[in-house]
Amino acid sequence: MADFSDPVILARIQFAFTVSFHIIFPATSIGLASFLAFVQWRWMQTREEVYLTLFDFWIKPFAVVFGMGVVSGLMLSYEFGTNWSVFADKAGPVIGPLMGYEVMTAFFVEAGFLGVMLFGRDKVGPRLHFFATFMVAAGTLGSAFWILSVNSWMQTPAGYGMNEAGQFIPLSWMEVIFNPSFPYRFVHMVFAAYLTTALVVAATAAYHLRRARQNRTTRKMFSLAMWIIAIVAPLQILAGDQHGLNTYEHQPAKVAALEGHFKTRKAAPEYIFGWPNMETGEIDYAVSIPYLGSWILTHDFNAEVVGLDQFPREDWPNVNILFWSFRIMVGLGLLFFTLGCWGLWKRYRGQLYDSPRLAQFALMLGPTGYIAVLCGWVTTEVGRQPYTIYGLLRTSDSVSPVAAPAVATSLAAIVVVYLFVFGLGTLYTLRLLAKDPPDSPAEQQRGLLDQGGRRAVRIWRLIWPGREV
């Protein structure tokens, strides 16, 4: 078990704890900022009251979540220095400038326009106000771009050299920024943020639908969110598959661990469940599908796949954690896809708002996007171990010369403060979501997406005539 007098372990727990809290907020604010920009844009186009009502409803939780994202992120950017100073000294010349660009192109943009977005509608007029919302949304995506480039460089370093002081130095910025895993990670994370947010919006709408099914604001909210889920969930599965193939190329040990492949072999099975046993190198209680493992990684049923036996034992990541975090993420992804399909079906039947079971399902899945996001990050980060810069700098060689008592005390303080502050923050956010959204006027109900939906139904009728809508 963990050794609590070891500053490395303590610093790792501290980093994992703070970054796991942090990612929950950006995942929400990236998604909500785009959602708010979208409904405001629709309002500018159609002048339908309902979009403005939606904007007013979601801006409040957005402000709360955004505030929590800012303060939890600030902690992270200082933690590199306080807890990982050797890493910071060595990797600073490469990752520092990327984070510098993140501050200048993303954080300042968000912060500069946030005030106008939140408080300025009466002061600047609708166009400039929309521009502010748009810039905040762009800022959140910019922030994801740079920080994921940093993280991806740590996973798949490229374009670097070393100097006499033992520091990594940049040779090609293009290769550093667009390192091999970055495009995949960026797409996968942005989809994850959109999906997570859409699940929260859908669950909120479902909660209100069950209380007042005729409320037109609620209906619109549900409809928009279900569209996003239906579109993004399959795309996310596709992106995840491609991401995995890329990881297999660059970090085969990670993929071997998350697939539970201890031995290199041809025609490998795909384990659905089981308990990896790192002592014996077997999967205990395995439930598996033969040949599928080879097919997923190579698209060939008989191909050989790399197992952990190709790597020295001290370079293995923790197989149990990876095996399960990966399965939970993928399992949830399949559930989200199911929800999307079910929504499309009900919409096609004209019963999107009338199915208590669909609403129940959406409500249940509401918070699970966060679980998928966290499991995804655990897969990525635990899979990188025992390195901070994959293959180059070990985690145990990255840590600050700070005594264990200092790290232990700060860890305890952080845990207490985070649980208290962000716990109450979640409570206030839930309270805001539980407030009934005001109804919107009826005559203006025809939106772009409804038209799109009807058009889709008409096309479907050509293929499968005779269905009632």
Partner: protein, 332 residues
């Protein structure tokens, strides 16, 4: 081109902008218990709510910029200041969330008022302590910090901590004096002179103390020729204090605020004169700490274009929210 020098200047400006901007909104927090009722507190928060996030972002630029261009300094200073930095960050957590939480907290509103005050106070104090602990010198062996984890705590660093608390409170009072009206305005107006007096007392104490911390500093201030640069600083300080007093008498709130900021600038320049050319006093110089030119040059391209742009839209945001805040502040 000497990238290290240019970057030292940019970062120095960045950190000063942080102090100048977040200083007044932390100061508003420090003054919170002196406000009369809920409505006054709402108004005071309203006077900073649209801008505080932008102000705090300069702190991220300071930390991130240090990592990018002086990674060695970053990796030595931060472990040395471990405790005050973590305390500051946790304090900023309380304070940062309080802006939104107090609006939605219902019965807990009073609690978040206290959290806003406590967070602002602790953050300011911790920043002052960090300043003092840095100024008094940091022990280094090889490429890392070699001191103990409580080296930051000395009478000197406590003095700089208190100095910053009073200084920020002065900025906060001058800002509220500019942005509010009525009874609240009258109250903060009366606070400015006592706060200025306390701040100047600490400035004098710390200034007299600093040369004794280290013979290098003493040499700067008391030997020819560097004395020539150093000597005018105290004179400017005296002139600024006079302007502050004059502006208050003439009811020129904007000038009073700017004089208070000028006071900070002068102290800042004074510190710069003491520590130059070190970035980790007195162990590591700017040039020793600098990363490779390729890193500094790459980020410089962005900085030259983006920082003016950032200043421009920040100014625009301040302009949009210019004038007095209505009672009860803003809503969304």
């Amino acid at each position: 081109m000497d990238y290290a020098l240019i970057w030292a200047l940019i970062l120095a400006i960045g950190v000063f902008v942080y102090v100048a901007l977040d200083g007044f909104d932390l100061g508003v927090g420090i003054l919170f218990p002196l406000l009369e009722d809920e409505q006054e507190r709402d108004t005071a928060i309203g006077a900073i709510a649209p801008v505080w996030d932008g102000n705090e972002t300069w702190l991220v630029l300071g930390g991130g910029g240090l990592l990018a261009v002086f990674p060695l300094a970053y990796s030595v200073i931060f472990p040395a200041l471990y405790v005050p930095l973590i305390a500051m960050l946790l304090a900023l957590v309380f304070r940062g969330v309080a802006f939104e939480f107090r609006v939605h907290a219902g019965r807990h509103k009073r609690f978040w008022d206290h959290a806003f005050f406590g967070g602002s106070l602790v953050a300011a104090f911790a920043q002052g302590i960090s300043l003092g602990a840095w100024l008094q010198g940091i022990e280094v062996v090889g490429r890392s910090y070699s001191g103990a984890w409580w080296d930051w705590l000395t009478p000197f660093s406590v003095a700089t901590g208190l100095a910053l608390v009073f200084g920020y409170a002065l900025l906060g009072a001058a800002w509220l004096n500019l942005k509010t009206e009525g009874a609240l305005n009258a109250r903060v107006n009366r606070l400015i002179i006592p706060l200025a007096a306390a701040t100047i007392g600490f400035i004098v104490a710390v200034s007299l103390w600093t040369p004794f911390m280290n013979e290098r500093y003493a040499a700067r201030w008391f030997t020819f020729p560097t004395m020539i640069y150093a000597l005018p600083v105290p004179l400017f300080v005296a002139a600024t204090v006079f302007t502050l007093w004059q502006s208050l008498k003439n009811d020129n709130a904007l000038r009073a605020f700017l004089s208070a900021e000028l006071l900070f600038l002068l102290c800042y320049i004074g510190i710069g004169i003491s520590v130059w050319p070190h970035i980790v006093p007195t162990a590591i110089t700017i040039h020793d700490a600098a990363g490779p030119d390729k890193s500094l040059g790459f980020l410089l391209v962005g900085a030259v274009v983006l920082i003016p742009l950032i200043l421009a839209y920040t100014a625009a945001a301040y302009w949009i929210f210019r004038g007095k805040v209505k009672h009860g502040g803003y809503h969304h």
